[in-house]
């Protein structure tokens, strides 16, 4: 397949909607290419490119809904997928939480596409692997990494006249560098929309430096520490907390944002007043599609402002039931910050722990969003503004809802990705007091 143009995509979606005899019909067309290269033990292990494109059609007869998808787009196939969706809708039980298709939306385009990223070749990917492997080989280090790039398009339409089309692209890079004896490990990650801002040769130096610097780590006693969390380290905790921002869960009494006695904590100040988070589909560095999974137009949405909860995520059904306006659900999460880098925060720290990365974060108690997980690939002790020595990894048991009340300083936001988060994130390095490390790990 190829990346369909707006006209081509619209022609396919229009055919599907026209073919439907149901009360309403919505259709989406998504397609693209994904390229990747994976390497380990200083050698390429797998590489490939996958293309895919799907037309999904959802129809409704009254409150009965049916969905079907297909990956061929001739007239007969389009007709067939619509008929199949209609057949499923007729068999389906009535959905008491049915909401009609969205009205025509006004989508303002966002900068999600880079020609340069879309033009990445197999040679470029091999070059990324080589740029990581070569310096490691020379330095008696071992590299294992993954680079993946995508170019895609997304088109959306319905029988109420709504239509949207936009192209996207992106790259994601992670690399772990270990010493040959396994006593040191470092990591680096970059997530970007525009590949021209990516330089594997320079990025890999971070992982190399951390791998060498983390050899012969000392053991510190578990307990409460002042920590400097690199953006990738706190991203997993913060994005996990966002699952608790669901309005229905909160109203039902099963979120940390539920209120004793009923209702939710929308409008309450729950975090340090320096905590401000928002979504903005047009943010230059973390742009996302200007519509959400339901097709609702995304807006710039304050989530937390100066510590106060300003947003809960209302599904269209729950918004209708509660008399609220449903707005497009965020695709990115931007935490506001200052200008300081991670190392600037280190410089201003008397005693503390620098955390490169967190790992295997899981929910322990949804009541308090207590999370557990571990530090990994570069944990260091800070004294008098300097990194003094590597320390053994810790397990933490900490709630982001508590962590964001213990803020000492906020640095400059950086784009980060987390493989378990649905958001593109801009997260600053954070200096946090009283972060709870509950045990030591021998893992390197």
């Amino acid at each position: 397949m190829s990346i369909y143009t707006e006209e081509q995509a619209k022609a396919i979606l229009d055919k599907a909607i026209k073919a439907s005899k149901a009360d309403q019909c919505s259709a989406t067309l998504n397609g693209g290419f994904n390229g990747n290269i994976r390497y380990a033990l200083n050698s390429v292990s797998t590489s490939g490119r996958v293309s895919d494109c799907d037309l999904a059609v959802e129809v409704a007869f009254g409150k009965r809904v049916g969905t079907a998808t297909i990956n061929s787009f001739d007239d007969a196939s389009i007709e067939a997928v619509v008929r199949r969706a209609e057949e499923l809708a007729r068999l389906a039980p009535e959905n008491p939480e049915f909401v009609p298709a969205i009205d025509k939306q006004a989508y303002k385009a966002s900068g999600t596409f880079s020609e340069k990223t879309a033009a990445i070749t197999p040679e470029y990917r091999a070059g990324v692997a080589a740029a990581c492997i070569e310096p490691c080989r020379k330095d008696k280090l071992v590299a294992a990494g993954f680079f993946t790039d995508s170019q895609a398009f997304s088109a959306i339409a319905n029988s109420k006249g709504n239509f949207g089309y936009q192209k996207t692209s992106g790259v994601d890079f992670t690399c772990t560098v270990r010493t040959e004896d396994g006593h040191g490990s470092g990591w680096v990650a970059r997530n970007l929309g525009d590949v021209t801002k990516f330089d594997a040769k320079s990025e890999i130096q971070t992982a190399i430096r951390k791998a060498k610097g983390s050899v012969d780590a000392k053991a510190l006693e578990p307990g409460k520490y002042t920590v400097i969390m690199e953006p990738a380290a706190s991203a997993g905790l913060i994005s996990f907390m966002m699952f608790g921002f669901d309005a229905r869960q909160s109203d039902e009494g099963r979120s940390f944002l539920s209120k004793k006695g009923g209702g939710n904590k929308l409008g309450e100040k729950l975090f340090d007043e320096r905590v401000t988070m928002y979504a903005d589909p047009w943010d230059e560095q973390s742009a996302v599609l200007p519509w959400d999974n339901d097709g609702l137009a995304r807006e710039r949405t304050p989530i937390v402002t100066n510590g106060k909860v300003e947003y809960l995520q209302y599904s269209r059904y729950w918004a209708q039931k509660q008399g609220k306006k449903a707005i497009g659900q965020p695709g990115n999460l931007i935490m506001a910050g200052g200008d300081k880098s991670t190392m600037d925060l280190v410089k201003g720290t008397k005693k503390g722990v620098l955390v490169t990365r967190t790992w295997y974060i899981r929910l322990v108690d949804p009541q308090t969003v207590l999370l557990t997980g571990l530090t990994r690939d570069g944990t260091f002790y800070i004294e008098d503004g300097e990194i003094k020595y590597p320390i053994k990894n810790f397990r933490f048991n900490e709630s982001p809802a508590i962590m964001l009340n213990n803020i000492e300083e906020i640095g400059k936001p950086v784009r980060v990705a987390d493989d378990e988060s649905p958001f593109v994130m801009m997260i600053p390095p954070l200096k946090i007091r009283d972060f709870t490390f509950s045990s030591l790990s021998d893992a390197v």
């Binding site: 292990s45 499923l88 091999a126 940390f256 322990v364 308090t368 557990t372 048991n397």
Partner: protein, 544 residues
Amino acid sequence: MERRNFLKMTGIGLGSLLLPAMHGRVIAAEALLSKLDVATKKKFADIALNAAKSGGASYCDVRIGRYLRQFVITREDKVQNVVNTESSGIGIRVIANGTWGFAATSDMSPDAIARAAKEAVAIAKANSKIQAKPVELAPVKGVGEVSWTTPIVKNSMEVPIKDKVDLLLGVNAAAMQAGASFINSILFLVNEQKYFASTDGSYIDQDVHRIWAPMQVTAVDQKTGKFRIRAGLSAPRGMGFEYLDGNKADKVELPGGAIVYGNSYDMKEDAIAAAKQAKEKLTAQSVKPGKYDLMLDPSHLWLTIHESVGHPLELDRVLGYEANYAGTSFATLDKWRDKFKYGSDKVTIFADKVQKGTLGAVGYDDEGVKTQRWDLIKDGTLVNYQVIRDQAHILGLKESQGCCYADSWSSVQFQRMANVSLAPGKEAMSPADMIKGIENGIYIIGDGSFSIDQQRYNAQFGGQLFYEIKNGKVTQPLEDVAYQIRTPEFWNSCAAVCDEKDFRFGGSFFDGKGQPGQVSAVSHGSSTARFNGANVINTARSLG
């Protein structure tokens, strides 16, 4: 890495992240019943094998896959979604110039298949320029044309959707009647129709079935603002719909009164118990942190086995192939050579892909190796790992153990975890016998929160039900319990394992590994086991 709880925070909010295996086209229910005929599959496979050989491949295997999935998703009195998906296509793997190459296509025309085979050869040849050592493949004798089917009684795909919806809504109603504030229940049904052919002379047709019926029951006390969840105690299984028959003979009442299940699950009964227990959890005693002897039910212990034994004994992790994502392993080859004491002499842990009713059970793995059973830890000593054909030589093995799996026709097969199980104790012992000897302990039933480091040393586990044990008896329910382990110390603290009458399975439907990520399903069996002097923490916090 066991995937994050499929119901996220409290049991709602289903999103794409939560259904990692839900790729494929959405299809009509009746299409789940059809199959590609074997002669056609053989014809397609031969096209690929011939094209690869003529292109210069020294080895080729072909997987023609049709992956069918059905999800029925409900909450309280509502069906939230019924989804049928299908993904089919052909994946071709070759060795050329001593290097692997892979290509896949959903286009099942002879030309497209031959083209994909040639592309796989071209990729292998291109990659061979940077290959340090040629692939060394343990031999497999061709088996000719054979077939294997999961021994099911009722094909889940043949059960009408209405019956499935009625079952779940009945379960939900029972829980609500028993006092639940909310319930979410789901059926995940999988049928993998897999055809494997290789230049070794094998043509293997397999029909694999799996089922999972998870639920989460929530109790909310609005006055205190407290809520608690009790998840179902079922296990995902390599079985048909008969797993949900709820045969009384497969029901087990544990000391203290909790009910757990063997090879047959009574979902409605468990939902009623869950509603009562979720409410009980709202007022249960918060645990005093400290050292306790743990009595771990198989419905809980499977996840500890999965994380602290199954993963660290995957040879690709030990060697460093997963260093950038899932991690490496503390159980290095020198420890294996030095007969590392992984656990106490009560601990024998075996791997297999043959036990009936398990998620890992197949006749042959995804590189045509007949499946088997072998010991990983024998009487406490590390004796083996889990390997595939191109790793066997590293351990001096003459053949692969059959641990190769791909989650789709379009994914490259690689080493995945077999079923890994704790062997039952040799002496007669029931859970009722075991508890008598425990003075100060905690009995844990069901799996809860889980997390482990990237070398599999430090882990923390929660559970569903916790009971205080004092002087040989269950005294009261507890809450806010999690225990932390260092893997070798934990397994060396194993003081007793109940006998084979108590042997039951748990498992993971969505075990994640690799980049790009793939999922696999794996079972872990055990009898109830006792671990002395574990470090228990209290997980209660206050948000002020």
